[in-house]
Each structure stands twice: as structure tokens, then as C-alpha cells.
Amino acid sequence: MSHLLEVNNLNVSFHTYAGEVQAVRGVSLHLDKEETLAIVGESGCGKTVTSKAIMGLIPDPPGEVKKGSEILYKDKNILKYSKKKWQDYRGEDAAMIFQDPMTSLNPTMKIGRQIQEGIRKHQKISKQEARKKTIELLKMVNIPNPEERLDQYPHEFSGGMRQRVMIAIALSCNPNIMIADEPTTALDVTIQAQILNLLREIQKKNHSSIIMITHDLGVVAGMADRIAVMYAGEIVEEGSVREIFKNPQHPYTYAMLNAVPNPELESKAELHVIKGTPPDLISPPKGCPFASRCKFCMQVCHEYEPEKTEISEGHFSKCWLHHQTAKKLYKFDNVRSVMAE
């Protein structure tokens, strides 16, 4: 069965004065129709770079999508697209919603024009037609009085409103894939709830797929069908949302889930913490990237990259704890029980 979007062995590096930063290392994932995939991880893990690669927005130089990487959209390798094909792809097939609505909109251009620009680039329609479509889009994202607000500038909108405009721009050409890069991080909690609701509605209506990039596990729990957990440029675990939350099989995933304060915990109890910081990707460690911070680190973890183990259908984890030798040695059959020690 072929997927709507398939990323195979993606490697992206950036060439800096201090050396080559391997931002994305061998990432493979897939996205199907009408599903929401969440890419979760902390800053520097490579999730934004991955999404930019899918949009063809990696600047070259200093960035470089390495040979051997493959991104298949409807079975066509888009990494081989010409500039023109990329421009068609962006907007019609995939669109991005950026993080900070303050800086992603042109402050000197009216909102209406920014939306219409996108539309008219992809479709040969008249100005009046485009204007009509724009008003429809603004209505779709629940912006009141769209006919008037069309002629306003970004600074006349609040943060939540601006994000809705961003979503309208992304939607303008009915893309099959919406990539939302931390779309609500800069917004207040109550506005965030509104925006996430909106995204869900739109997805249902348009039968589109969403790739949601975030570090907020609560947002993921509400939005995602599947989750890919990234750390230091690699995907360390992936699975359905229920599997990941209820049955995490990687020490990093487990640690992340426990770093969020649990209402059951007594007040001021020590939060489960992962000591240290992620490795510098200029000299990525040769073994598992999480080794230097992992409670269960074994000798082999420093030496070799762990193999990808299938836990159950669709649930994968890259960790030496799943190797039969480890299981035999430590006499457990479920990695989770080890982590709960």
C-alpha cells in the first residue's frame, strides 16, 4: 500500500564555520490520507529541518540534502523536482503554517493581498474571483467581518487572528498536506484551544493530512493519530498515539512523558529529569545519541547505533534494551518495567 507521503533515509546537514552539523540523520516516516502525524521532540532535534525538507525550503548553501535521501509524494521523488515543480507543489500539494504569526506575515501588505497572492500564483483566476475566494477562506477560519478585515494590515490583528490568517493562506490552494510547525506555541492557552479546534474542523472538511510539529505533549495527545519522537536528528520511536502515551518503549519517550508534572504527584516533588543536554550535532556520537543521558545506558549503546525493533504493528523503537541479549540479561519481557524502576 503506498502512502501519500513517504520519507526514506533523509539526511540533511548544514555547513558552518565550526564544521558540518548533521541536523537530520537517516529519518524515515510516512503519512497517509486524512491522518495526523505528530513529530515530537525538543529544540535541535531536527523536526523543523525535516519539515522544511518536505517543503523544499532548505537553503543550499549552507544546507544540504544528502544523496540517498528520498521524499516520495504520491510515489514521485520530490527531491528531484525542478524549481517550477517545487513552486507548484508548495501550495497545491503541501502548505506550511509557521510558528510565529508576528514575523511570518508581511507587515506592509494587506492581509487580503497576502492571501490572494498565493491563490493567483497557482490558479489563473481574475482579481474579483480571487477576492471572493479570499473572503470565503477568512470565513472558513472564523474571522468575523471578512469583507472589511481583508483590507487591514497584520498589526491590526491579534496573535490568534494572525495565526488564523496564516492558516487561511496555507489553505488557499487546498493542499493535501498541511505542515504545522509549532502553530500554537506563541499563543495563549485559550486561543490555542480555538486554533487546534479549527485545524481539526478543516482537516475533516477537506480530508487533508496534517504533519504537526511540536514539543507540547498535550497538544499531541489531542491532535495526533500517530507520533514520531525525534532526538538528535533521528526518530527514536514511532507509533500510534495511544501506544506512545500508554506504552512508551524508548527511555527518551518515557522520560519526556514524565517530565511533565503529573497532577497526581505531590506538590514540589522532584520531577523526573533528564540530566544534561542533547549532543552537539557537529560531532554526533557514534552510538545511540541518547546514551550519555540514559539511565539504562549499556556499553553497546556507546558503541553502536541501536537497531529498529518492531514492538507491535506500526510501533517501532530504536533501543538496545529490546535486543534479546538485554532481555535475557535483565530478565524482563517489557522494556517499560525497566524504565519504571
Binding site: F14, T16, Y17, A18, R25, G26, P62, E234, K275, G276, T277, D280, I282, S283, K286, G287, S292, R293, C294, K295, F296, C297, M298, Q299, V300, C301, H302, E303, Y304, E305, E307, W320, H323, T325, A326, L329
Partner: protein, 313 residues
């Protein structure tokens, strides 16, 4: 992934699965080389070939102005009447002017004056501008208002009027020229510094310094100034060629350096009279002015890029 194939071939012994635990100390390590802001800027400047060439050129010009007149066999005011207006030859590298004086020697002697005015003028502008702008920006409110209104008035005065006034009061020559030029030139830097200071005052680290009880003068010298330095350096690098040009222009129209002293502008004035017959007399001083100005501007561009934090990789 690099190791995948290898690990499949390698036999994984039980020993390798022994627990090792976390090395807390190394997990906090900072890997990249310790590099300060200035070192980083210098490194970036070095990569800019144009800026380095400009800088080398300027150093060359400065050295020539200082040493050439001592080494070169001909003096700048020595007249060889028989060969007036002679073109460039082996012994008179740039030729002679209409009074038979060696142009090569005069270019470097004149250069001393032009460069000196450029550098001294820029230095005075810097001192006054930074102080004025810093105070205005730091204190804000009414003080800032008054100070900026004064600046606006000064900027409105055409500098030719100032130059003429000064030459009447102080007589012509290098001193009055400097006073006239500096009279309003510092305003540009003052505004820049003020803008930057106002910007910085919003920074959280300034707020932190106030919370720590740091006295005002320390805030200015330890926090505000070092973060303004890059702007000051760039602006000063650009202001030197303005001074050089202003001096050249004024000397060209006779308001600046008077004979027997000479400057590039003065030489250009003389050369211009002989332009149709003996172009070399205009060419060399004109080249000196334009190339020097160009070099300063290119260096300034390079410095600005080197200091720009957004261009950091």
C-alpha cells in the same frame, strides 16, 4: 545510518550489554571552541576578500604617507623649472606639476593632511557623538527631547555657511577647516548611538543589571557601550571618507588648505587647470582621493557584515 551494516556483522557479546550509567559531568560539556564576539567578527572579516584588500590598501597608503617623503629623493616643494608639466618618468614617478614640483612626493605629503583630517575629524565626531547620543538615549524624557531638537537645528545648517564663518573668524587653514567640518558631523553618530541605546535599554540584561543594583556609570560602560561598539566602529569607518571628501572639496574651491601646504583637494584644484593638456596632474590626486574613499567604504561594509549577529552561522 553509518553503523547499521557494521553492527549486524559484529557479534554482540553479553558483556557489551552491561550497564554503564550516565556521566553527568561530560553531559554538560560545551563542545565548540571558546570564541568571543570580537574573535568571531575578525574571523568573518578575514573571509571577506574585498574588505581585506581594502584594509591592506589603506595600511599601504598610511605607511606611504608617513615614510615615503623621507625615502623619496625629491622634496615636495622643490621646483624644477625646466621640466614643468612633465609626464611620469622613471625618476619622477607621477610626473611634475605646472610649477615643476614632483607630484609623487606631493601626493604623499598631501595625503598626510587629507588622512589626518579624515581621522582626526572622525575621532572628534566619535567622542562628541557617542557621549551626546549616549546621554540622550540613556536618560530619555525631557533631556532626550531637548538634545534631539538641538541636533535637528544643527543638521539644518548648511555646512558651507559654517565653513565660511569659521574661515572668517579663525582664518583659513587646517585648524579652521577641522572646526568647521566637525561642527555638525557628529550628529549622525549621535543619533545612531541614541537609537541603539534606546533599543538596548529594553533588554532584559539591562533590567537585570538595575535589579542587581549596578550604578548608572557601570551600566553605561559595561553593558551599553560594548554592545554599541560595533555600530560605532562601522559608522566611524564610513565617516572618514566623508571628511576626506569634504576637505578635498573645500580645498578644491579654495576654502581649505592654503599653499605652501597641500592636500589632495588642493592638488586636484591645480591639476584641473591643466587638465586638457597635462591630465596626469589631475589624475593622480583624483585617484588618491577616490581609491582611498572606496577602500574605507568597502572596509566599512565588510565590518558591518562581520559584526551583524544575524549573519552568524
Amino acid at each position: 545510518m553509518p553503523n547499521q551494516k557494521d553492527s549486524q556483522k559484529v557479534v554482540l557479546t553479553e558483556e557489551m550489554f552491561h550497564r554503564v550509567g550516565v556521566d553527568e559531568h561530560s553531559s554538560e560539556n560545551v563542545v565548540r571552541p571558546n570564541i568571543s564576539y570580537w574573535q568571531d567578527a575578525w574571523r568573518r572579516l578575514k573571509q571577506n576578500k574585498v574588505a581585506i584588500v581594502s584594509m591592506s590598501f589603506l595600511i599601504f597608503v598610511a605607511l606611504m604617507c608617513i615614510f615615503a617623503p623621507h625615502i623619496y629623493p625629491h622634496a615636495f616643494d622643490e621646483q624644477i623649472i625646466e621640466h614643468t608639466n612633465q609626464g611620469p618618468t622613471a625618476s619622477h614617478i607621477f610626473g611634475l606639476d605646472d610649477l615643476g614640483r614632483d607630484i609623487f612626493a606631493r601626493v604623499w605629503v598631501g595625503g598626510r593632511v587629507s588622512l589626518a583630517i579624515g581621522v582626526i575629524g572622525a575621532a572628534i565626531s566619535l567622542a562628541v557623538g557617542v557621549l551626546y547620543g549616549g546621554i540622550s538615549g540613556y536618560f530619555g524624557g525631557a533631556i532626550d527631547n531637548v538634545m534631539m531638537r538641538i541636533v535637528e537645528i544643527l543638521v539644518g545648517i548648511p555646512y558651507m555657511i559654517v565653513v565660511i564663518l569659521m574661515s572668517i573668524i579663525l582664518g583659513k587653514g587646517m585648524g579652521s577647516l577641522l572646526v568647521a567640518l566637525c561642527f555638525t558631523s557628529w550628529t549622525g553618530l549621535a543619533r545612531l548611538v541614541r537609537g541603539q541605546v534606546i533599543n538596548l535599554m529594553e533588554s532584559e540584561y539591562i533590567l537585570a543589571a538595575k535589579a542587581l543594583g549596578t550604578p548608572t556609570y557601570k551600566i553605561i560602560f559595561r553593558h551599553l557601550l560594548p554592545n554599541t561598539l560595533s555600530i560605532i566602529i562601522v559608522e566611524t569607518t564610513f565617516s572618514i571618507p566623508s571628511f576626506i571628501f569634504a576637505e578635498s572639496f573645500l580645498s578644491f574651491i579654495g576654502m581649505g588648505i592654503q599653499p605652501p601646504n597641500t592636500s589632495w583637494g588642493a592638488m586636484a584644484a591645480l591639476g584641473q587647470q591643466q587638465m586638457s593638456n597635462y591630465p596626469h596632474e589631475l589624475l593622480f590626486p583624483a585617484l588618491a582621493i577616490s581609491l582611498t574613499m572606496l577602500a574605507f567604504n568597502l572596509l566599512g561594509d565588510g565590518l558591518r557584515d562581520a559584526f551583524d549577529p544575524k549573519l552568524r552561522q
